[in-house]
């Protein structure tokens, strides 16, 4: 059922024998673009909240905003993304609009996970580094972040897993159709992802082999989350072990 042809060819509109190539590509492309936006902002905010923020009105406002954003249902966020990117900026259904909205969806989770991971780092490490004459910036980059790495990787895989499986946000922003070219890097191309394709095939089973495509797409979805998690966490673990020294 899942073979090379299925993974690399385009879907067919009405006939049997279609593949999921562009959708598979779009899933990873959108994930990558959304991480490019949400990781610097989300992890940056998490680091700020854990290391630098003094209790006060501003900190409270940021925390409240983060929590509010976290509670927005993804389909509502999808509608917001549509109003902003599809309508206001007149982009239409695009990879870019989908990735940006997805980034917004993942932002609060990233902030929270980063903040938690950094708060787990014992204060004794910070004091130790400061007492050796480290600048506050060196304390963060050389002591705190490396020590928090396992937590940060967990956060990243959580976010990525959710992004790869997300549909509601993407239906309204990236759309259900994919580019006619395979591996289309144009961010303004249609951004139908695998999860959305699964939903679309299921809700409007036009092709005769819809059941085959649904089952195949579902299996591939699971496998690609697994694949992505391994691809991120294995190198991170190896790096962390090497850095911390042999036990």
């Amino acid at each position: 059922m899942i073979d090379w042809t299925f993974l690399t060819t385009k879907p067919k509109a009405v006939a049997a024998g279609g593949g999921i190539g562009p959708q598979l590509f779009n899933s990873f492309y959108i994930l990558l673009l959304s991480l490019l936006v949400s990781v610097p902002v989300g992890m940056g905010a998490g680091i700020y909240m854990a290391e630098y923020a003094r209790p006060g009105h501003f900190t409270e406002a940021v925390r409240l905003a983060t929590e509010a954003l976290a509670t927005v249902p993804s389909i509502v966020l999808g509608l917001f993304g549509m109003l902003l990117f599809v309508n206001y900026f007149r982009l239409g259904f695009t990879i870019l609009g989908g990735a940006l909205t997805l980034g917004l969806l993942n932002l609060p989770l990233l902030v929270r996970v980063t903040e938690e991971a950094i708060r787990q780092v014992p204060d004794a490490y910070r004091e130790g580094a400061l007492a050796l004459g480290a600048t506050p910036f060196q304390v963060v980059t050389r002591t705190v972040l490396p020590a928090a790495l396992p937590g940060l990787v967990t956060g990243l895989t959580l976010v990525a897993g959710r992004a790869l499986g997300e549909t509601a946000v993407l239906i309204f922003t990236a759309g259900t159709s994919a580019s006619r070219h395979l591996f289309d890097l144009n961010p303004l191309a249609g951004g139908g992802t695998l999860a959305v394709h699964l939903w679309a095939t299921f809700s409007q089973p036009v092709v005769p082999d819809a059941a085959r495509i649904e089952a195949g797409a579902a299996a591939v979805l699971l496998l690609m989350v697994l694949f992505f998690n391994l691809a991120v966490s294995l190198p991170a673990q190896i790096w962390y072990r090497r850095r911390t020294g042999k036990r």
Partner: protein
């Protein structure tokens, strides 16, 4: 500064130091001078201000929310609380060893090389030299020379504390502040750390906070007794323990309170 001059002037001169945590008055009018290349022990019951005093010498208290300080603390004649003071440079000159051993989750080598690296040493050969020299200085080299790449967290508590001392020495400080460095260690490790303090005395100005009066008597040349934020008595260690001038000092060292 010439060598003779350096020997005559005290390393630290503290004048009328008052410190506060919010509304808590933690140090009250403390004045003392710390002799160069000697060990000064600070004793007193818990909460008496001795750790606050110690942490005022490398401005570690700056981290504490609501900490304030008045008076003058000068290192080689320079007020370390003057505006524009380079705190990072100050902490490089004034190293600190903490109560609980706090090695970084890194290899033994990288722990010792941490300080030199953040101060710009990247030459592998130079780092190796510094690491060996510092580990020897801390009396740990023979025990770990075969496993420098092993995790520092796999060492025993006493070894970890000597690693932390080596890590501090690698930055080539002038002063060593030790905040109850042996209180979390077993008796054998404690003895090793005390011997080490005795050896380091010839090269560094050492200030050691301790709860252990015998330890203070063994390792130090000068002792200061703190009580409720005041420096009750300060003088040569042998005099403090044989003929204390203040009734409160006498009560404390004879074990009548504290």
């Amino acid at each position: 500064m010439s060598a003779t001059n350096a020997l005559e002037t005290p390393t630290f001169l503290v004048q009328k130091l008052d410190a506060y945590y919010g509304s808590l008055h933690a140090l009250r009018g403390v004045s003392l001078s710390l002799e160069r290349r000697a060990v000064t022990a600070l004793i007193g019951p818990s909460g008496c201000g001795k750790s606050t005093f110690l942490r005022s010498l490398n401005r570690m208290n700056d981290r504490v929310e609501g900490f304030r300080l008045t008076g003058r603390v000068s290192l080689d004649g320079q007020d370390i609380y003057a505006p524009g003071t380079d705190v990072v440079h100050l902490r490089k000159r004034v190293g600190m060893v903490f109560q609980r051993p706090n090695p970084f989750p890194l290899s033994i080598f990288d722990n010792v090389a941490f300080g030199p690296r953040i101060h710009g040493t990247s030459d592998r050969g130079r780092l190796r030299e510094l690491v060996e020299h510092s580990l020897r200085g801390a009396g740990l080299w023979e025990e770990v020379k075969g496993r420098l790449n092993a995790s520092a967290l796999g060492l025993s508590g006493g070894q970890q504390q000597r690693l932390c001392i080596a890590r501090t020495l690698a930055v080539e400080p002038e002063v060593l502040l030790m905040d109850e460095p042996a209180s979390a260690l077993d008796p054998a490790s404690t003895a090793r750390v005390e011997d080490l303090v005795g050896e380091l005395r010839s090269r560094y100005t050492i200030v050691i906070v301790t709860h252990n009066l015998q330890q203070a008597a063994r390792v130090s040349q000068h002792t200061g007794f703190f009580l409720s934020g005041e420096l009750v008595e300060f003088g040569p260690t042998d005099r403090m323990f044989t003929a204390p001038q203040d009734k409160r000092t006498e009560d404390y060292i004879t074990g009548r309170f504290g």
